[in-house]
């Protein structure tokens, strides 16, 4: 007679999982969307991927163990999902198309360059142009204000490697900014 009871518990669990995802969306959906955007740099794609990330979390919620916080666990799923996307055939195909478009001179590009004068614009733009491995750690550390230990849990990378990357990112940025100023 045990079986029906177990099933009951399973369905309670379903509602509980829905509630958890609801809460996570309320608290972190903008942060996750921004994280995803730093990876993919396209608003619609970022929204699609964020949607998929919350669905993925829902499906994996039973695998969550208390060794990390729900937040770092969510960030980790998000980061992996973005990396998978960037590796995908679909993404490679569309970026190739974009690259072809880049060779076609357009009006909007020059307009962008004119607007990007303000200091904050320059900083934001420079960070978004960093290679992914630096952009990732810079975003998580300075925007999300996470510690290197937390970032290491999210990215599955050694804190020392992350430290080196941050240092290197600073060098690249200083170099860029002095060039801008000239």
């Amino acid at each position: 007679m045990n079986e029906p009871e177990q099933m009951e518990a399973g369905f309670e669990n379903f509602d509980e999982r829905v509630q958890i995802i609801d809460k996570l969306m309320d608290e972190y959906s903008d942060a996750i969307l921004h994280l995803v955007y730093t990876y993919v740099k396209n608003e619609t794609t970022a929204e699609d991927l964020t949607q998929e990330i919350f669905i993925k979390c829902f499906e994996k919620l039973h695998q969550f163990n208390e060794r990390s916080t729900l937040k770092t666990w969510l960030y980790r799923i998000a980061s992996n999902h973005c990396k998978d996307y960037l590796k995908s055939w679909h993404y490679r195909k569309i970026t190739l198309n974009d690259k072809i478009f880049d060779y076609i001179p357009s009006m909007s590009k020059t307009e962008d360059e004119i607007i990007a004068k303000d200091e904050e614009d320059i900083l934001a733009k420079a960070v978004m142009e960093l290679p992914l491995k630096y952009r990732e750690v810079v975003f998580l550390h300075y925007y999300e204000e996470l510690t290197l230990k937390e970032i290491s849990k999210i990215t599955a990378m050694n804190p020392n490697t992350l430290k080196t990357r941050l240092k290197r990112a600073k060098e690249i940025l200083r170099h860029k900014m002095t060039k801008e100023a000239e």
Partner: protein, 144 residues
């Protein structure tokens, strides 16, 4: 030399992320797919033939899980080989969708077709057109 990233947070907030927010529509889309995911995906993971064998077998008389399992084995259906427990998941799913009903008798749970289950089975048997409506489809439609 100061840290070049000190103002990054406010800089990104005012520029790149200024209009980027996860909308209420997007949240609703997530919620909707969560509600759809359990039943529909589970049903899709079983073969049409398996569903048919199970439902057909319950048409004449109620059977318990072990009898259904033996019947599938006789018919060389290997869907539940080495994962016999999943048969009960499927039966429970069909029960939730009111395709079958279960009753406890003599410490065993017996399954039988409901009126809805009989109807669905009858429809699939009647249709002989090339684009036969699948049982899965009918079950999903009936439970909306």
């Amino acid at each position: 030399m100061g840290d070049p990233f000190t103002n990054l947070k406010s800089a990104l907030k005012k520029t790149v992320f200024k209009d980027i927010s996860f909308s209420e529509e997007r949240k609703t889309a997530v919620r909707n797919s969560l509600q759809e995911s359990p039943s529909s995906t589970q049903l899709h993971s079983w073969k049409e033939e398996t569903l048919k064998t199970i439902l057909e077998s319950l048409k004449q008389e109620a059977k318990d899980g072990y009898e259904i399992s033996s019947l599938l084995f006789q018919k060389n259906d290997s869907s539940f080989r080495n994962k016999e427990g999943e048969l009960y998941t499927l039966l429970h799913l069909l029960e939730n969708k009111s395709i079958i009903a279960a009753r406890w008798y003599d410490e065993k749970k017996y399954y039988s077709l409901t009126g809805k289950g009989k109807k669905i089975l009858a429809v699939t048997r009647r249709e002989k057109s090339p684009q036969q409506t699948s049982l899965k489809q009918l079950i999903l439609e009936a439970s909306i």
